[in-house]
Structure formats: structure tokens, C-alpha cells
């Protein structure tokens, strides 16, 4: 009684706050999801049933954001008719990749809007010497060189000026083909990162397979947990600094953290075992005495899968890493931008749809009272799961791409596509999650209420973990479905040919919004007359399937982990 009495005083306000924050957040995310679905129904119904024949959806291209160009002329000389006058812009491009080159490019700015031509720079020179670009049009300089390219303006109207009036772009530098994953076929990983991955693999083996000899050696570290922990921290920091904070440096650092955490837990487990007078070689016993062994293993495996992905990607596979598409040499083309487009669209779709849909499912299943409104919403969600994907594309066009009315005006961008796909996945995830939540036995809820849980605590600590395998399965299904979907993105405005890495947030920040995804790329390639393109399309299909398998295997690791935690 004494322990409890002392503890009793501390708590009540915190509990109430948590309860309110938890259920309010839940209700809010549920409401956002339901709002999306309601707006979707409204958008489908309105033009047909309310506006009748006069209803129309305006073309997407009207609303491509026009700002933030790489080279922009904000003060063009305009005559009385509004036409541009003045000299052509002349740029001088120079670089030195062992064979110094200098090229002049004449850029004529015309009054026409939206006209653009990209300039491609490679070791043989520049693709063109004269370019015509439209007023307020962004155009790109694409470089496949490993060295910086210096750009100087020789004549023509002054480009965008900074606040002092000086030209903002007097001379600027395009860096070489910057690539996170590979540099000309050599590994970008530092030895420390590789060591981190090997160490992680080592500890995964150590706590999954019995190896008495090594365990005996590890045991000698007993009592030095603190040293092991700080050693791991130090290695992680060194990896980060040496790897200059790139993505794989972060992964390497995470690996070191994981290795440290697992070793500390393992040492604790060994000590516990020793205290019980047992031998550490009794592996079955050791398994049980490691705190949260399953969780550690799951995270370590996930981390390893992610890290391992970077090893094959560090090898130069032109088909994956090449972003040029030459109409005359199909086999030299690559799907880099489609690949990244798919990854970004999926990421955004997942980030948007999973929390909202799971929140909506919890709200509908656990919190909402069975009123007529709830039943109506339930029926709507059920029916939405069967709506053809092209309809979702129209919805995305109206809400995310288009500006004006309820439209967000993101343009035909990755963000708009991701949101559209997310909305498409929502009803599927909501239904699967509801089913999973419904199948959580009542006895579990009762036992949780029996120890004095509030409703939010029951949901968070017991119902949700038990429903997790089902929710994961539903989410995998939904994600697999939208990954292969081309139809909605055709409507949203994925491009046929994109020669640069897509910018995921371009819709908001106003960069170049063009993007494409693998299914769209396959579709456009199959419609080319040349046979070689059809083989390319087949290769792209295989890439899509492999990508899908990789994503699913991560989800399966997660799902199996949750399942194993429930039934050993």
C-alpha cells in the first residue's frame, strides 16, 4: 500500500490532458478524412446532378503556377503592343573536364507564353546554340558532367535583380550530375558506413542464432554497458561527420545506434541470466531475458533492409540512373525520373492516407455513436472503395490541380498526384482498418477497462496494437493498388517525358512541377512505334514489380512483427 499511496498523488491532471488530446486528435484526423471523402462525393455529384450540362472542369494547364524560374526576366522591355523588344540574351557556358570548352548560347525571349527548350550539356558540348524561350518561362540547363559549369551573361536584358538592383544572376554555377547514391560507379559509402552495416548484420545474427563462443566473449564486456553505449554514440557521430551528413551517413549512424542498443540489451540479458545461476549458452533462456528482443530484431532488420538497398544502388545501372531519353537511341535511356516520381508519389500518398484513414477508422469504429449520419458516412466510404480510379483522377484534378473554387492550385505536380493517390487509398484502408478493429476481442477491451483505462488508453495501448496486423495488410493492399495505377495520373497531368529529377514540393514552392511515374512511362513507351521502346517498357514493368516487392517485404516484416507479438 505504501508504494502506491506515494505514487497516487502525481497523476490525475496528466491523465485527463492525455485523454482529451488523444481523442480530440483522433476525432480531428477522422473528420479531416471524412471531409475529404464528402468533398469527393460532392465533386462527383455536383457537375452531373446540380450544374447539369453547364458544369465543366477547366483544363489543368491553365493553372500551372508561373513563378520561380531558373532564369527569369522580370523587367523585359515591352513595346506599346505588349511585344518584347531588345537584344537577345547571350550566355557563355564554360567548363573544364580535362578538355576545356566554352560555348555561347543565344536565347531569344519571345512574347509567347510557355515556350521553352532545355539546354543539355555533356562532354561533347552543348545540344544547341540558339534557344527561343517564352516570356515568364523557366528553362533548364541539364548537365551530365562531373565538373561545375560556369554560366556568364554576355548581353541582353538584365535578369531578375536583387534588392540592391544588381543582377541576381550574373554568373552562376551548375554543379555536375549530383547523385546521392553513386558517383560514376564507385561506392559513395565511407568505410565507417560499411562497417556499421556489417556490425548490424553481426548483432542481428548474434541475437537470432545461438553462437556460444561469441556470446562468451561478449559476456566479458559485462558491467561496461555505459562504455559500449557511448562507444556506439561516438562511432555514429564520426560516421555522420566523415560521411558529410548524406543520406547513407545518416543510415550508417542509425546502424551504430542500433548496434549499441542491441549490445546493451544483450549484456543486460546475460547479466540477468547469470544472476539466475544459468549458463549464457542456454540460448532459449537468453532469448527470454533480453528486454524487447522482438522489437529490437524488427527494427534492426528494417534498418538492414534499407541500408542494404544502398549497396546495389551504388552500382551504376544506367537504366535506373539515366535520366536522358534520346528518341534515336532508346537503349541509352533510363527511367530515373519516373522511378523517383513513383517513390515520391507513393511516399506522399502513404504519409497522407495512412494516418488520416486509420484515424477515421478508429473514430467510426470506437468513438462515433451509431446515428443516421454515421451510417450514411459508413455507406459512402464502403461505396467509395469501389469507385473507378479515373474518377479519383477527376477529383484530384478538381481539388488539387485546379485553382479557384475548392481547388488548391498545386498544378500537375507530384504533390497533387500524391494527394490524389492518397485519397484513392483512403476508403480501402478505412474499410480494412475497421474490419481489423472490429475483430479485436471484447475480452481484451474489458480487461483493459477493468484496470481503469480511459477509452483513449484502451484504444492506444490494446485495441490498436491488436488490430495492427490487419491494418498493415489493408494498407499494403491499398498501396500496391495505387502504385500500379496510371489512369488517375493521366488526368492529373503526369508528363510523357521528364528529363530531370522531380521536385516533390514543387506544387507549393513553385518550381518545375513536371513529373512522371513508372506506369505512365510504360504507357507512353508502349505507344512509341519503335520496337526497342517496347523492350524498354517491359524492363520498366519489371522495375515496377521489384519496387512493389521491396515495399511489400518491408510491410510484411512489420506485419509479422506485430503478429508475433500477439501470438508467439
Amino acid at each position: 500500500m505504501k508504494d502506491i499511496d506515494r505514487l497516487k498523488k502525481r497523476n490525475r491532471a496528466r491523465r485527463d490532458l492525455m485523454e482529451r488530446a488523444g481523442s480530440t486528435g483522433l476525432a480531428l484526423s477522422g473528420l479531416i478524412g471524412l471531409l475529404f471523402l464528402t468533398v469527393l462525393v460532392w465533386q462527383i455529384a455536383k457537375p452531373t446532378f446540380i450544374d447539369g450540362e453547364s458544369g465543366q472542369i477547366e483544363s489543368a494547364s491553365e493553372f500551372i503556377p508561373v513563378s520561380d524560374y531558373i532564369l527569369k526576366w522580370d523587367h523585359p522591355t515591352v513595346d506599346d503592343n505588349g511585344d518584347l523588344i531588345g537584344d537577345a540574351v547571350v550566355l557563355e557556358l564554360s567548363w573544364n573536364d580535362g578538355n576545356p570548352q566554352t560555348h555561347e548560347i543565344t536565347i531569344t525571349v519571345t512574347g509567347e507564353r510557355g515556350l521553352s527548350e532545355d539546354i543539355i550539356v555533356d562532354s561533347s558540348g552543348v545540344s544547341t546554340n540558339a534557344v527561343e524561350v517564352g516570356k515568364k518561362t523557366k528553362f533548364y540547363l541539364l548537365s551530365s558532367l562531373e565538373v561545375p559549369v560556369e554560366v556568364k551573361q554576355l548581353s541582353g536584358p538584365v535578369p531578375a535583380a536583387d534588392p540592391t538592383g544588381a543582377p541576381a544572376v550574373g554568373a552562376f554555377v551548375i554543379s555536375g550530375d549530383v547523385d546521392v547514391l553513386m558517383t560514376d560507379g564507385t561506392l559513395v559509402s565511407t568505410p565507417l558506413e560499411i562497417a556499421a552495416w556489417i556490425a548490424l548484420l553481426g548483432v542481428i545474427l548474434l541475437i537470432s542464432v545461438p553462437m556460444p563462443k561469441i556470446l562468451g566473449r561478449i559476456e566479458r564486456l559485462g558491467g561496461k554497458e555505459r562504455a559500449v553505449k557511448y562507444g556506439a554514440y561516438a562511432l555514429a557521430t564520426t560516421t555522420l561527420v566523415v560521411g558529410t551528413f548524406t543520406l547513407d551517413a545518416w543510415l550508417g549512424a542509425l546502424c551504430w545506434f542500433m548496434v549499441g542498443a542491441i549490445l546493451v540489451r544483450l549484456l543486460e540479458g546475460l547479466t540477468r541470466l547469470r544472476n539466475q545461476g544459468r549458463d549464457p549458452t542456454q540460448f532459449d533462456r537468453l532469448k527470454h531475458s533480453i528486454t524487447n528482443r522482438e522489437g529490437l530484431l524488427m527494427w534492426a532488420r528494417m534498418l538492414f533492409v534499407f541500408s542494404a538497398l544502398f549497396i546495389p544502388l551504388a552500382i551504376n545501372i544506367p537504366f535506373l540512373t539515366e535520366r536522358y531519353q534520346d528518341i534515336f537511341i532508346p537503349y541509352a535511356s533510363g527511367i530515373r525520373s519516373a522511378f523517383f516520381g513513383t517513390i515520391w508519389v507513393m511516399t506522399i500518398a502513404m504519409l497522407v492516407s495512412m494516418p488520416i484513414s486509420i484515424g477515421a477508422a478508429i473514430y467510426l469504429e470506437e468513438y462515433a455513436k451509431p446515428t443516421r449520419t454515421t451510417k450514411l458516412i459508413q455507406a459512402l466510404v464502403t461505396n467509395l472503395a469501389g469507385v473507378p480510379s479515373i474518377v479519383f483522377g477527376m477529383f484530384g484534378l478538381a481539388i488539387f490541380v485546379k485553382q479557384g473554387g475548392v481547388g488548391l492550385g498545386l498544378g500537375p505536380s507530384i504533390l497533387a498526384a500524391g494527394l490524389t493517390m492518397g485519397v484513392m487509398a483512403m476508403p480501402i484502408i478505412v474499410l480494412a482498418s475497421q474490419e481489423a478493429l472490429r475483430s479485436v476481442p471484447r475480452s481484451l477491451r474489458e480487461s483493459a477497462y477493468g484496470v481503469g483505462c480511459t477509452q483513449w488508453q484502451v484504444t492506444r495501448d490494446h485495441v490498436l496494437p491488436s488490430a495492427m496486423p490487419g491494418i498493415m495488410t489493408g494498407s499494403i493492399l491499398a498501396m500496391s493498388r495505387i502504385m500500379g495505377e496510371a489512369a488517375p495520373l493521366v488526368v492529373v497531368g503526369a508528363a510523357a517525358l521528364v528529363l530531370f529529377d522531380p521536385e516533390p514540393l514543387a506544387g507549393l514552392t513553385g518550381g518545375n512541377v513536371n513529373f512522371t511515374v513508372i506506369p505512365i512511362q510504360i504507357y507512353f513507351w508502349t505507344s512509341e512505334p519503335e520496337h526497342a521502346w517496347h523492350s524498354m517498357a517491359a524492363a520498366a514493368s519489371i522495375t515496377l514489380i521489384v519496387l512493389l516487392a521491396a515495399m511489400n517485404s518491408v510491410a510484411i516484416i512489420l506485419r509479422e512483427h506485430f503478429r508475433r507479438r500477439l501470438n508467439p
Binding site: 481484451l444 480487461s447 481503469g452 508467439p568
Partner: protein, 271 residues
């Protein structure tokens, strides 16, 4: 005062409820409906402090319903509504604004089927304590060990605290559930047929445990086994068709019951 229902002469719920010693919880005139179906008819029952009160009666007579009203577990069933008053000291349990969390903290419950959380044995016991207090690691370790000890299961699980609670045998699971309940130090423990899913050996272990728990807690147990009620309880209430037919000291009920119906039930002639 009696009425005839289904060929049986059923007396109205009894009101003569004398007990010696302190009353912990008092149930007065409780009526309860599932939709339009009345499950309890004016039931009154005193629950004596630090004693074991047993509720017996045929299936569907409202024993479990009555038990689940004491910690308002019935609130989880949307079609359930009730009238009447249950008090625990100054606290009116049936009050609309009652703090259900405090209530369920002070009135723990053990269910018919063992239902440990799908977490480790340690976390099963620690969960409630963590929920209501912020114990330090050492405090928590001490509470877990003490609770498992009091539930007479410590020796069996001491070296596998991080195994899943659901990996234990049925009897061990039920004792784990009891440990989970006493870890948060309730005043009262409600047991809803705790031994119905267990074999005789596990049943004997639990019964011994109940007698032990009596020293610190008030226990209310619903049981189908008359012999179990006779063995462990100090007071017994016999219910039939939602009415409290007779309530008295256990020896009295099992030796010379006042009501004809009680006599026929405990001698096994109906029900």
C-alpha cells in the same frame, strides 16, 4: 410476497440483509434493462468489508450482470440502462458524473476467461501501475514482484518475466490476471466465475488464493459451483430470474435456507 413465473413461485427480492461487520459496498433497489428486457428486479445487496461474498444461481439469473454493475462495466454495453443506487462509502457509484477510472482502480475485476494482455508477464502486471502512477524502475520492479507473489505465481514465472502473458497455461493466466488486478491495490476484487475455464488443480490454487486475498481485499465472486461458494465465501446471495431470492451467511444458506426455492436449488433439484 411472491409471484409465479414459469411454473416457479419466485419471492420478490429480499430486503432483510443483515451482516455483522463493516459494509463496503451497498447495492439498493437496482433495476436493470437490456433494451426492453429487464434483467434485474429491485436487487439489494450489502457487501461486507474483507469478506468473501458469493453469488449463486442458475445461468441467466443476473449474477454476472449484477457484478458488472458494481464497477460499471455494463456501461460498455450501449443497450444497457439501470436505475437504483450503489454506494461505496461516500461515493455514489451509479452517479452519472462518477469518475470511472478512479472507480475501476478501486474495484478490480477478474473475468470468466483468463484474458491477459498480449504483452509480457511483467508488462501485464506493470501496465495498470504505469497507467495510474509514474513509478521508477525500482518501485515498479518491487510492485510487480510483490503482486505476483501475492497471486501465488511468482515462483513459476520469475525467470520468464519477459515471455508473453498469453503463453502461460490457463490456471497461470488466471492467477496472472489476479496479480494484474491487485497490482493497482483496489479495495474490492470482483470475480466473475474465475474458475469455470480451469481444471480442479488450478481451481484449488485459485480458491486458496481467494482465502488469502480476503485479508487485504473485499472479494465478490460469482460461481456456478455450490461447493466452491460453500468453501470460500462468508456470505452467499442466491439469485433467480433477476431477483435476490435469499441472502445470508453461507453456513445458514447451505444448512437451513429460509426459502423453499433456495433449498431446491442447492440440493440440485432444479436449475
Amino acid at each position: 410476497m411472491s409471484e409465479e413465473i414459469g411454473g416457479e413461485l419466485v419471492p420478490n427480492s429480499t430486503r432483510e440483509l443483515d451482516i455483522d461487520g463493516e459494509i463496503d459496498v451497498m447495492i439498493e433497489d437496482l433495476d436493470l434493462w437490456y433494451s426492453s428486457n429487464q434483467a434485474l428486479h429491485g436487487v439489494s445487496l450489502p457487501i461486507a468489508k474483507n469478506r468473501v461474498t458469493a453469488l449463486i444461481g442458475p445461468s441467466g439469473c443476473g449474477k454476472s450482470t449484477l457484478l458488472r454493475t458494481i464497477n460499471r462495466m455494463n456501461d460498455l454495453i450501449p443497450i444497457c440502462r439501470y436505475e437504483g443506487k450503489i454506494t461505496k462509502g461516500d461515493v455514489v457509484i451509479t452517479d452519472k458524473g462518477a469518475d470511472l477510472v478512479e472507480l475501476r482502480k478501486s474495484i478490480g475485476m477478474v473475468f470468466q476467461r483468463p484474458n491477459p494482455f498480449p504483452k509480457s508477464i511483467y508488462d501485464n502486471v506493470a501496465y495498470g501501475v504505469r497507467l495510474h502512477h509514474q513509478p521508477t524502475r525500482e518501485e515498479l520492479d518491487r510492485i510487480v514482484e510483490k503482486s505476483l507473489n501475492r497471486a501465488a505465481i511468482w515462483n513459476e514465472v520469475a525467470d520468464r518475466l519477459h515471455d508473453l502473458g498469453t503463453s502461460l497455461s490457463g490456471g497461470q493466466q488466471q492467477r496472472l490476471c489476479i496479480a494484474r488486478t491487485i497490482a493497482i491495490e483496489p479495495d474490492i476484487i470482483l470475480m466473475d466465475e474465475p474458475c469455470s475455464a480451469l481444471d480442479p488443480i488450478a481451481t484449488a490454487a485459485i480458491e486458496e488464493l481467494i482465502l488469502e486475498l480476503k485479508k487485504d481485499f473485499t472479494v465478490v465472486i460469482v460461481t456456478h459451483s455450490m461447493s466452491q461458494a460453500a468453501r470460500v465465501s462468508d456470505y452467499t446471495g442466491f439469485m433467480y430470474l433477476g431477483r435476490m431470492v435469499e441472502f445470508n451467511k453461507t453456513e445458514k444458506i447451505f444448512s437451513e435456507p429460509d426459502q423453499e426455492l433456495t433449498k431446491r436449488y442447492i440440493t440440485g433439484r432444479f436449475g
